[in-house]
């Protein structure tokens, strides 16, 4: 081998050596690089797996890993919390967690998982450790090893119990709402932009006499429907016209009234429904207001009726508030007072009209009304023309709907004419009383003046007789006797006339009169011959009346009875009967009797049937007058020669 060769070889070797060295160096570098890279990767992996671990551990939803036998291998924190099991301490099988009713569904799902390798949106109920039932949403997939062999299943479980509950509530409330709408007492139609029905209800079908279910109307065109329905209305064209107007305007309309041919009155409202900027349709509502309207109509009619009564009645009507300020008057009051309504509004009636203390009366009466009393009173007033009139005012408090007194209403009647009559009557009464008194006085004086001469004549006659004793012959003596008898008759007549004229006066002497006592007094006063018995059959009552006059009544009747008894044994029987408001007395005798034709006459003054010394014909007139005064009646039954019974009643 040549040097050259050797040198060549040596140079080649050196080159190779250098090359190897360089390669080694590169390798070393690369290997270092690789090492670092792998180091890096390892770190990265560690990082990633811990990151992943963290993700699973920390995701909000539960993360569950099970083996193929259904044993739970892994629960993250959320899962532990959700199910309540600590799988490090106890063994839990997935089957135990499934809600019994959902078991079949779970099995199907699991099968699905095995065939396809995953499942999604599985919603089911599960039991927790504390036996609580929860709704969960599960997404699951199978876990394979490197040889692509399934070794486990993993799932993300989300607790949707709350969500589910609110969804249910929403459905429930939707149901409620739709039931409500369906059965609403107003008919409604919700239409969309194109006037197609979106929603309607039973009442609408009923009102519009549509023989279909509300749901069937869905999607129908409102315009066509309206064209069909218009015949139901009294003004079909008006109905359509108004509807299209409303539809064009697309603005809220409340309280349109539609009159249907069957008399039904519908109230129609229209409401565009927008949520935010978006139109959600247009709502028509129809309400049957027939009852309400007819009610209002009859109310209106009633009001009209009373209004015309008030306006046309001949009584003045004034409404005032609690300050006595006039709020309203009717036409009659305007005529009565002379003022127009404008002149009186806001004025106080109590200040304008009254004269002579009327204002005080009014304020007193107003106070009473404020307390809720109704009243009536008279006042003297001045009209606008200055006439003095008398008004009778009947007032009643006026209440608001809460029952507070807000004023009063007074009805005014002009009683001036009446009042004039009343005053005239009072005057007349006074005058009458006075003239009665005068007459009474006059009667007494006249009777005195008439009686005095009689007395004098009697004295003179008796002196003549006395002074001429033995001188006068029989005839003269007899004539003197006749003079005396005539004088007595005259005196009696005067007395009776006076008595008769006195009966009507002093009737105010009312007292309790015991008729028994009066009767026993009478039997001692009256002259009753031996052969006549006067008796009362029963205990007589006590009555209210004028004692003197009652005595006179009984006295006249009894003495009459006694006077006209012609039988050998005379009997006068007094009895009575208790009627409701009166007592009926009877005085029965067995005297000469009175002929029927005189029964009425005998009570008239100066109608004595038997002209005799002691009969002036006034006695029975007095009796009648006294009975009249005691609001009774007198009559008689009689049979000539058998006897007479006088009946009379006296008020209790």
């Amino acid at each position: 081998m040549s040097q050259e060769q050797v040198e060549i070889l040596q140079r080649a070797l050196t080159r190779e050596k250098n090359a190897r060295k360089a390669a080694e160096k590169i390798l070393e570098e690369k290997s270092r690089e690789l090492y670092f890279t792998s180091q890096k990767l390892e770190n990265l992996l560690d990082e990633k797996s811990s990151e992943l671990q963290g993700v699973f551990e920390n995701i909000v939803d539960a993360y569950v890993v099970i083996d193929l036998n259904g044993n739970i291998l892994k629960f993250n924190e959320a899962a532990t919390k959700l199910f309540g099991y600590d799988i490090d301490r106890e063994e839990v099988k997935i089957a135990k967690l499934i809600y019994k009713d959902d078991f079949q569904y779970a099995v199907d799902c699991f099968n699905n998982l095995q065939t396809t390798g995953f499942f999604k949106d599985y919603e089911t109920r599960v039991y927790t450790k504390s036996k609580e039932v929860k709704w969960v949403h599960v997404n699951g997939s199978v876990v394979f090893d490197k040889n692509n062999k399934p070794i486990a299943a993993q799932g993300i479980v989300r607790d949707i119990t709350e969500e589910r509950a609110s969804a249910e509530r929403l459905i429930e409330s939707e149901n409620r709402l739709s039931t409500l709408i369906l059965n609403l007492d107003s008919g409604i139609v919700l239409e969309d932009e194109n006037r197609n029905i979106v929603l309607t209800n039973n009442k609408f079908c009923e009102l519009f006499k549509i023989n279909a279910q509300p749901a069937d109307l869905h999607g129908k065109d409102c315009v066509t429907s309206a064209e069909q329905n218009k015949v139901l209305f009294k003004d079909p064209e008006g109905f359509l016209k108004r509807m299209s107007e409303i539809d064009d305007a697309k603005e809220l309309v409340i309280g349109d009234e539609l009159e249907m041919i069957d008399g039904t009155i519908l109230e129609r409202n229209y409401m565009p429904i927008t949520i935010g900027e978006k139109s959600k349709g247009f709502l028509w509502t129809f309400t049957d207001v027939t009852l309400k309207r007819t009610y209002r109509k009859s109310l209106e009619a009633q009001k009209q009726k009373y209004y015309s009564i008030i306006a046309n009645m001949h009584l003045g009507l004034v409404e005032v508030n609690t300050n006595d300020e006039i709020l309203m008057i009717n036409q009659s009051f305007s005529e009565m007072s002379g003022y127009s309504e404008e002149e009186l509004l806001g004025k106080r009636g109590g200040e304008i009209f009254p004269v002579e203390g009327g204002s005080e009366i009014i304020s007193i009466e107003n106070e009473k009304r404020k307390k809720g009393e109704s009243n009536s009173y008279e006042i003297k007033v001045n009209t606008k023309q200055g006439d003095i009139r008398y008004w009778l005012i009947s007032g009643a408090p006026n209440y608001d709907i809460n029952g507070n007194v807000v004023g009063s209403i007074g009805v005014h009647l002009d009683i001036t004419e009446l009042k004039a009559l009343e005053l005239q009557k009072e005057k007349l009464l006074l005058k009458l009383e006075k003239s009665n008194d005068e007459l009474q006085e006059y009667a007494h004086i006249v009777s005195h003046d008439l009686k005095s001469p009689l007395r004098s004549i009697d004295a003179l006659v008796s002196w003549l007789k006395e002074d001429n004793k033995g001188i006068l012959d029989e005839t003269s003596l007899k004539n003197f006797g006749l003079i005396e008898a005539t004088l007595e008759k005259m005196e009696q007549l005067i007395s009776d006339v006076l008595e008769y004229s006195s009966v009507g006066t002093d009737t105010n002497l009312k007292a309790e009169v015991d008729l028994n006592k009066m009767f026993s007094d009478l039997t001692t006063i009256l002259y009753i011959p031996e052969h006549i018995t006067v008796k009362a059959l029963n205990q007589l009552p006590v009555i209210t009346g004028d004692a003197t006059k009652l005595q006179q009544l009984f006295q006249n009747l009894i003495s009459n009875a006694v006077k006209f008894i012609d039988k050998e044994v005379g009997l006068v029987i007094i009895d009575f009967e208790d009627l409701k408001s009166h007592y009926k007395f009877s005085i029965k005798d067995n005297g000469i009797g009175i002929d029927k034709q005189f029964h009425d006459k005998i009570f008239k003054i100066f109608h004595a049937l038997n002209k005799s010394k002691d009969s002036t014909g006034i006695g029975l007139s007095i009796v009648k007058k006294i009975v009249d005064l005691h609001e009774g009646q007198i009559w008689l039954e009689s049979e000539p020669n058998v006897g007479t019974t006088f009946y009379f009643t006296l008020k209790k």
Partner: protein, 136 residues
Amino acid sequence: MKTLNILLIEDDMIEVMKLNRTISSLKLNHKIIEANNGEDALKILEQKDVLPDIILLDLNMPKINGIEFLGILKNDDTLKYIPTIILTTSNNQKDLLECYKIGVAGYVLKPLKYEDYVAKIEKLLAYWSINELIKA
């Protein structure tokens, strides 16, 4: 029996005669002073030294009537003690009440018949004859 001084106030002449005749026919010794009306009577009564024992008074008289006279009498401190008996035709209840209200010693109605009159006057005078009277 006392003898009475009687003041008769009466406007009717025959009535005066009746009383005089009655007293004389009854043989009584009473002394009668006559006055035709209330005014005359008051004049007589002014002389207080000779006051009557009793007064018989008619009611219906001209000028001062009986009731007015009675009022005047009862308002006088001396005269009010003289018993006054009304002798009248009036049986008017009002007069009767009024007289007793003012104060009278009696109220006698004049009867129609003279005999009845005599009987009444006899009793009246007999009664007052036995009464004790206040002497002025």
